[in-house]
Symmetry: C2
Subunit: 406 residues, 2 copies
Amino acid sequence: MKIAVLGGDGFVGWPTSLHLSEQGHDVHIIDNLSRRWIDTELGVQSLTPMDSIQERTRIWHQETGRRIHFHLIDIARDYDVFKSWLSEHQPDAIIHFAEQRAAPYSMKTDRHKNYTVNNNVNATHNLLNAMVDTGVNSHLVHLGTMGVYGYSTVGAAIPEGYLPVGIETMDGKTVQQDILYPANPGSIYHMTKCLDQLLFQFYAKNDGVRITDLHQGIVWGTHTEQTRRHDQLINRFDYDGDYGTVLNRFLIQAAIGYPLTVHGTGGQTRAFIHIQDSVRCIELALENPPAKGDKVKIFNQMTETHRVKDLAELVAGLTDGKVAYLPNPRKEAAENDLVVKNDQFLELGLEPITLEKGLLDEVVEVAKKYAYRVDRSRIPAVSAWTRDIAPTLNADPEGKNLKTVS
Amino acid sequence: MKIAVLGGDGFVGWPTSLHLSEQGHDVHIIDNLSRRWIDTELGVQSLTPMDSIQERTRIWHQETGRRIHFHLIDIARDYDVFKSWLSEHQPDAIIHFAEQRAAPYSMKTDRHKNYTVNNNVNATHNLLNAMVDTGVNSHLVHLGTMGVYGYSTVGAAIPEGYLPVGIETMDGKTVQQDILYPANPGSIYHMTKCLDQLLFQFYAKNDGVRITDLHQGIVWGTHTEQTRRHDQLINRFDYDGDYGTVLNRFLIQAAIGYPLTVHGTGGQTRAFIHIQDSVRCIELALENPPAKGDKVKIFNQMTETHRVKDLAELVAGLTDGKVAYLPNPRKEAAENDLVVKNDQFLELGLEPITLEKGLLDEVVEVAKKYAYRVDRSRIPAVSAWTRDIAPTLNADPEGKNLKTVS
C-alpha cells in the first residue's frame, strides 16, 4: 500500500512509519515539524538524542535499503499544497497524527489554546475536505484519545466509541440508537479530539469517507523493533512538564533522584499502551478498514489501566524512588474508576506488552542511560487549568524541598 | 446593561440591537461586515434596500435619540483586538451571532467549507478564550440552530438540549445521566454549531463561563416594531439560492410569478419562528441567565413546525402561485417528523406570532412591495451537498420551463 503518515516525525508517527516501511509499504511522511519548533519554544529537548527527520530517513535507507519519503507540508495552513500532493499521490491509506497533542501545552496561555484549536481543527478538516474534493479513496486512520470519553465516574465500562441508548418516542415506545459516546473532555487538547469526532461523523455520513478513529490511551515505552536497529533511529522521549506523560516523568524523576511527583491524590485512573502495541494496533486498523458508507469505526487503543498513585509506587519500587504529592494543575475529579473495553484489537490478535513486563527495560535502557541529559528545571508541571490553580503550583523547579512519603 | 452584539449587522443581529437599544440598554455592535462581503462575492443583494451599518445607526439616533455603537472587528481573525475591546468595555452580556450561517453556502466548494469551519470555530473559540483571559463576567448568549439535533426520524420529541439516558454500570445498576443531545448535523454549517456546543460545554465546566445557547429554527418575517420606524432601518431579506431560507424563497417566487420550487418530496419538516419572536426570546434569555458553575442553558427557539410541502401550498394559496418539484441539492432523509419542546420560552411569557397570522403581511408589505428588485437568475439553489448530486440540479435559472403542479 501507499501510505501517507501525517505527523510522521512525532513520537508515535515515527515508529509507525518505520514499522509500515519494514512491512513493505510505500511510506510518505508529511509533517510541518511543529513538534520540533515547540521544543525550541519551550527550551526543552527529547531525553534521547534525536536526529533530523532527513537524517533519520537516510539511516533507515542505509540500514534496510527501504525508502521513507519526507514532505514538509503544513496541512493546517497550506490546504492547496496538501490537496495537490494528495491528488498526485492518491495514497491507499492516510494515518493522521498531525495535531498538537499535549493537554498541558494546550492550557498554557490563551495563545496556546487558540493555537491548539486552530491547528487541530484545521488539520483534520483540511484533510477531510481535500479527500472529498480530490475524490481519493483512501482509508483514513486517525489517532484520537481515550480523553474524549466522559462519565468514567459512574462505574460503567467504556464501550468502543458508541453507546446504545433507548429513546422514548411519542407513542410510548423505546427505540434503541447507537450514539457517539457523550464527549466530556478535560482540556482544550482533548476537546479538539472531540471536535474531530464530529467532523469524522459528518464526512462519513455525507461523503462516504472511510474512517477509523483510534481512541488511544497514554503511550509509554520508547523502543520498537525498528527503532532499536540503529542509535540514530531512536524515538523521542519527553519528560518536561508539558509534553512528558505521567509514566515518563516518573521514570526520569526516579533516574535522577528527583521525587516522583503525584498531582492531587493520585486517585486518577488512566489507560496505557506500549509504543510497540500502538504501532501494531495501527497495522491492524489498516488491515481492517470500514466499508464505504459505514459509520466511523472506533477502537479503544489501550491495554491496561492504572491509578496514577499505583504507578508511582510501582516505579518507586523498581528504583528506590520516593513519592511526593503536589497540587493538581488540572481541573478534574480527584478520583475516578476506569474500565475500558478493547475487545476488537484483542480479537484481531493483539498480544499486549504489560507494564509489569516492560517497565524495567525502560528504566535501564532509556531513563538511566540518558539521565545525564536531563534538565531538572523542566520537570515541574507549570501549565494551570484555571487562573485560580496557577498560584498553587510548584515553585521548586529543582525538586529539592519536596516533602516525600515513603 | 452594557451589551455587545457580535454580528449585529446581520439579519437577526440588527433587529436585536434595535430592540435592546429601545429598552434602554447600552448596545455595542461588533461586526466584520462579512455578510455584506459575501453579497458582493455572490453578486446578490437583499430584496429590501439596506443602508450601511453606519447610516442605520445614525438614523436610529435621529429617530430615537439613542446611540448604538459600531466597532469593525473580525473576532475570528483579530483575537488581540477583540480581547482589548472586551477588557476595556466589560459588557454585562454578549450576544454571539458572528458566524457564517447558510448551509448551502457552507457546501458550495471546498473553499467555502474551509471558510465556514475556520470562521465559525475561531469566532466562538476566540470569544470564549478572551472572556476567560480578561476575566470579564459577561453572560454569553449564542445563536445556535435546531439543526444540531439528530434522530428526528424516530418519532421522539426533541428536548431542550439535553437527553436523559440510562447508563448500565458494571454492578448491574442503571445510572441516569443528562447528556448533550446527540449531534447529527446535515451540513458543514450545522456541524460548526455542533462544534460550538462542545466548546461551550468545556468552558462552562472548566472556567464557569455563564452560557445560554439558543437552538433556533428558521427565522421568517422581516419587520419588527423597531425596523418599521423608518425606511432606512429596514431589515435585510435574502431570497437567493444560498442565503434565502425556504419561506422567503416561496414568498418571492410567488410575488414574481416564478414557480414555488420544492426540493425533493417536500416531506422534510422544519421548525420556524418569526423575527419579532426571535428578538423577544433573546431578551428573555438575557433576563434569565444561568448561574456561574451551571451547565450551558439551552432553549429551543422556535414556535411551530411545518412540512416544506405544506408551506409551499400555504403560500401558493395566498398568492395564486404554482408549486414545482425539483431534485434535492441536500443529502437528507426524504421525509421526517419533527416535534420540538419549547416549554421554557412559553413559560417565560413568549406569545408566538403564527405563520397563519403573519404571513399575509409578509406577502404584501415585503415580497410584493420590493418584487421589482428581484434578480430571477439568483433564485435557484446551486450548491450541491455531494459531487453526485451536482449534475441533477436545476439548469433553468429563469424558472420558465419548470413543470408545476396545481
